[in-house]
């Protein structure tokens, strides 16, 4: 962006919000209403976990391994125990529970390993929990950590998945015998071999999809409280899925599930990192129970760097086969996936079923084979991070497709267009076991190309090159699978849980409505969007609907918020619940109006007799009658509420095209964005402003991966990017102005016609940026640069090619 001499850039066009009171009730669904959760978040009224103060509350701090791999020969806590304010110190020997953190997904070949709450004789990553200190005050607890003396016997460490799979690598888990956690494949190997044998052109590429650290702004935290009188254990914690945490923690702590309450107060972002069951929150809960006293554990940022489940961590060899007509005939993928030191909650699913199933991208590819080997290594457990498997798939597919277009001398946009799944072919069954629900891939492509000015770009690029300026354009036509998902299907794939969602819709006698959902938002604006959905279904005022989430004490069961599932699955559960309420209300209204139920029509909140619109009754009046119960039909019970469980028939498959235009300075390796255009199709939009915000944030994390972020370890397994000083979470000046637009292909899977939007930007962005940079550097012969594309890496890529080709510089 040559901003120095250019005039002030205008604000990119965006969706305009509207105050809810200015929206007609009939238009509430689909309106960009301002978020109702904002005033509390904007005025300091929000309640995050660390804001909770309980009487007599003690503070927990956790001692963590300073080495990535070591035997523990002894732990001396004597000095620490004598320090001011220290209440108690616990090590593995003190734990009187099974204390083994489980994984929630199995694979046929999975070698499961023990994951104790506190390390017993061995630590396997820097940050592995060793001891719990409880003290009267926060600082005292941290002081005491420093006084605990651990006698370590250091072992060799391995942090790279390919090296971890080497037979000479140090083995992390003796019970597994080797570091191979699983071997998995999908697709048809034989058909793929044949496709490659017959192909006119084959292109291959080795890529590393680097480990990322989620960096939710709120570090993980828990406040636990135990009531011995009735054995009630309450844990307020930064969670994306309180019910899932309750289920897993009840097993880990041997505490009855119905006596365990998990409550997520306001949660400061998650991006996957607050899905998983870690040792830490369970240790806080165990401590509260042991001491019969409330405790707080608040992770420091350093702890989040060391212990939050990381994302990605793939090393992949990919090949693509193209025939002489420019059609893609086959795709072959071999991936080594880093799982870290232990199996995290959804870790086995992420590099397998959330990855290999997306290898068809937006394209008709007759033969695909993808094999993945999961590797234990001395890094923190690796699990779902925004996108979870799908960014890795989209990255390798779109990098290969870009190179394939180059190899056959085709325009990258037209090559993609030629290979798109035809809109008439939906639902489309891919060779990798999924059926795309709907799609119309040319629409976002055309819109994006138009917005970015693709037609004139090559000319501009050529002119710029004449002046020694290197512009590049990068496309990403991504597919995403989300709205997790049909329980029967995920069960067949290895999930140890269903992935339905629940929605409770309850009228009060005065006609106001409580809507509760088993999802658990942490920034996505569910209070607003769910109220829009329920108000629309019931025909009541938006302001009359209150939304509740995130507390196992007063909600139906739920599966939580991740995998872009809340609107598609949770929203649909609320629709189902609301429709059940309307059905019951209709019977009451029919009775009151002295008509047959089948003659009653319902619209905009009113029941009326067909053909006699003046004989009508509002649903809120019906609610009062339902609770008065003075005059109900014989077969109708009092009350007006329903709890629905919704289990979709399929995933949903959002798609779109993102285009990055960059200028690269080959002398310095600097990359400037000239433009970033995103056209996404996430089906119907409940609140377009919230959709836009999700896309923006997703793109920022995708650009973060492309240009800035990456967890790095030294040879001893020490994290060298363990702070915000060293790990580049993008700042305001790192992210370009984004131009966003959408197309709408409603999903046939759910009653709202929605798809997911939370992860789309993160899935789409990295390859758009990398493709653009590689395009810019085409004159230098640069074919690939590994992410993050730091200035140094870009400069080296140019420099190496210059050397290789005998260039003059």
């Amino acid at each position: 962006m040559a901003t120095d001499e250019s005039p002030q850039e205008p604000r990119p066009e965006g969706v305009e919000t509207v105050a809810a009171e200015d929206v007609d009730a009939a238009d509430i669904l689909g309106s960009a209403v301002e978020r109702r959760e904002d005033p509390s978040l904007l005025t300091g009224d929000a309640e995050y976990t660390d804001d909770i103060q309980l009487p007599e509350m003690a503070h927990v701090a956790i001692l963590r391994s300073q080495y990535a791999h070591a035997r523990i020969d002894g732990i001396d806590t004597d000095a620490a125990e004598g320090m001011d304010g220290v209440v108690d110190i616990y090590t593995a020997d003190d734990l009187d529970v099974s204390g083994n953190v489980p994984t929630a997904w199995e694979l046929d070949t999975l070698r499961e390993v023990d994951h104790p709450l506190l390390a017993e004789e061995r630590v396997r990553y820097q940050g592995d929990a060793i001891a719990v200190v409880v003290a009267e005050e926060r600082y005292q607890a941290h002081d005491a950590l420093d006084a605990i003396d651990v006698d370590y016997e250091r072992l060799d460490a391995v942090t790279d998945p390919t090296e971890a799979l080497d037979e000479d690598a140090p083995v992390l888990h003796e019970e597994a015998g080797e570091n191979t956690a699983f071997e998995w494949e999908i697709g048809d190997a034989e058909a793929t071999d044949e496709a490659f044998a017959e192909a006119g052109t084959v292109v291959d590429l080795d890529v590393t999809n680097q480990l990322l650290i989620p960096n939710a702004m709120e570090p993980r935290a828990a406040v636990a409280d135990y009531d011995p009188g009735d054995d009630e254990l309450t844990v307020h914690m930064a969670s994306q899925n309180p019910h899932v945490h309750r289920l897993l923690m009840s097993g880990v702590l041997d505490h009855p599930e119905h006596k365990l309450r998990i409550r997520a107060p306001d949660v400061g972002g998650g991006f996957g990192s607050k899905i998983h069951h870690y040792p830490d929150e369970a240790l806080a809960a165990w401590t509260a129970k042991r001491l019969e006293r409330p405790v707080k554990w608040q992770a420091t940022r350093t702890e989040t760097y060391l212990t939050d489940a990381q994302g990605r961590g793939h090393e992949t060899h990919g090949e693509i086969a193209i025939d002489d007509d420019g059609n893609i005939r086959g795709l072959r993928i071999d991936t080594k996936a880093n799982l870290g030191a232990y199996l995290s909650t959804f870790a086995p699913a992420v590099p397998t079923y959330l990855y290999g199933t997306l290898m068809s991208g937006q394209y008709e590819i007759p033969a695909i084979h993808c094999e993945v080997t999961g590797a234990y290594s001395n890094v923190p457990p690796v699990d779902a991070y925004r996108g979870a498997g799908r960014p890795e798939a989209s990255y390798i597919v779109e990098r290969l497709v870009n190179r394939a277009a180059d190899a056959v001398d085709a325009d990258p946009a037209e090559f993609r267009r030629q290979n798109f799944v035809d809109p008439d072919d939906f639902p489309y069954e891919t060779p990798v076991a999924v059926e795309y629900d709907s799609g119309d891939y040319e629409k976002p492509l055309d819109k994006a190309l138009d917005l970015v000015g693709y037609e004139g770009f090559r000319e501009r690029q050529a002119e710029a090159r004449e002046e020694g300026r290197y512009l590049g354009i990068g496309l990403s036509c991504y597919i995403e699978a989300c709205g997790l998902a049909p329980s029967e299907l995920v069960g067949a794939l290895g999930a140890r849980a269903g992935l339905w969602e629940s929605g409770l819709v309850r009228f009060t006698p005065t006609g106001t409505v409580t809507a509760a959902c088993g999802t658990s938002g942490h920034g996505q604006g569910h209070d607003t969007t769910y109220a829009q959905i329920v108000a629309n279904e019931l025909g009541v005022d938006y302001e009359d609907v209150d939304v509740k989430e995130g507390d196992t004490a007063d909600l139906p069961q739920g599966m939580g918020t991740y995998g872009s599932r809340s609107a598609a699955v949770g929203g649909s559960a609320l629709v189902k619940g609301a429709r059940e309420v309307v059905e019951k209300a209709k019977r009451i209204a029919a009775h009151q109006l002295e008509a047959a139920t089948e003659d009653i029509e319902f619209d905009d909140g009113d029941f009326h007799v067909a053909g006699a619109p003046d004989r009508s009754m509002g649903i809120q009046e019906v609610a009062l009658e339902a609770y008065l119960a003075h005059d109900l039909p014989d077969d109708v019970d009092p009350g007006l509420e329903a709890t629905a469980f919704y289990d979709p028939d399929n995933f949903v498959f959002p798609f779109g095209t993102h285009v990055a235009v960059v200028e690269v300075d080959p002398e310095t390796g600097e990359i400037d964005f000239e433009n970033y255009v995103a056209v996404d199709d996430v089906g119907n939009q409940i609140n377009p402003k919230i959709v836009e915000g999700q896309i923006h944030g997703g793109i920022a994390q995708g650009i973060g991966q492309a240009l800035y972020e990456g967890a790095e370890y030294d040879d001893n397994g020490q994290l060298t990017t363990g702070s915000m000083q060293d790990y580049a979470v993008p700042k305001s000046s790192h992210i370009p102005e984004m131009e966003t637009d959408s197309t709408t292909t409603p999903s046939p899977v759910n009653p709202l016609g929605v798809k997911g939007v939370g992860e789309a930007g993160t899935i789409a962005a990295p390859q758009a940026v990398v493709n653009a940079v590689v395009d810019a550097l085409e004159p230098f012969g640069v074919e690939h640069i590994e992410m993050p594309l730091t200035n140094e890496r870009v400069w080296r890529a140019v420099d190496e090619r210059a050397g290789a080709t005998g260039g003059d510089d």
Binding site: E34, D38, L41, T43, M217, R301, I690, E692, H696, K731
Partner: protein, 180 residues
């Protein structure tokens, strides 16, 4: 060894006793109950803890409470409340400049100090001004929009910066905390 300090927060005088090492953000949050400023990094990198100390935006996670002796502090709670929000708070809502809200108090406090110095900023200047405040949710664009819109609103309906931030709000009395 605790020390007695007095300071004014959002117009209310406070007397409290803190350790010399107590961070201002912990004194505000844990001793005085102002939980608006959030702790995101304990290292001045993320800015979620930003408050105004004598009118300047300061990261309260790397400031000692004892250094705030006699200071006038404004936290997000002092900017406005539900139903009577500051133009910046209103524009963050209108422009969808927040998602999870954790960085938001710091963003608003940094932005308000910035707008006092530069009431008519360019977008690039806003981005530079916010470099010390990290947001992981929004991708920043709607935050920049919010600051830009609020700047325009504040220029169109001028209030003195003091009135706008509540920094000279009526004395709410004296409260004693800590030291027990």
């Amino acid at each position: 060894m605790e020390r007695e300090i007095t300071l004014t927060v959002n117009g209310t005088d406070h007397e409290l006793s803190v350790e010399p090492r107590t961070l201002l953000v912990h004194a505000l949050r844990d001793e005085m109950g102002y939980t608006g400023p959030n702790v995101g990094c304990e290292s001045s990198m993320c800015g979620a803890c930003t408050v105004h100390v004598d009118g300047e935006a300061v990261k309260a996670c790397t400031e000692l409470a004892v250094r705030a002796e006699d200071a006038e502090i404004t936290t997000i709670e002092g900017m406005g409340e539900e139903g009577d929000m500051h133009p910046l708070q209103e524009s963050f809502q209108a422009e969808h400049g927040l998602q999870c809200g954790y960085c938001t108090p710091g963003m608003v406090m940094t932005a308000s100090a910035f707008l006092e110095e530069n009431p008519d900023p360019e977008r690039e200047e806003i981005r530079e001004a916010l470099e010390g405040n990290l947001c992981r949710c929004t991708g920043y664009q709607n935050i920049v929009n919010a600051v830009e819109s609020a700047a325009e609103e504040m220029r169109d309906s001028p209030m003195s910066p003091e009135t706008a931030t509540g920094e000279t709000a009526a004395d709410g009395g004296t409260v004693e905390e800590g030291g027990d």
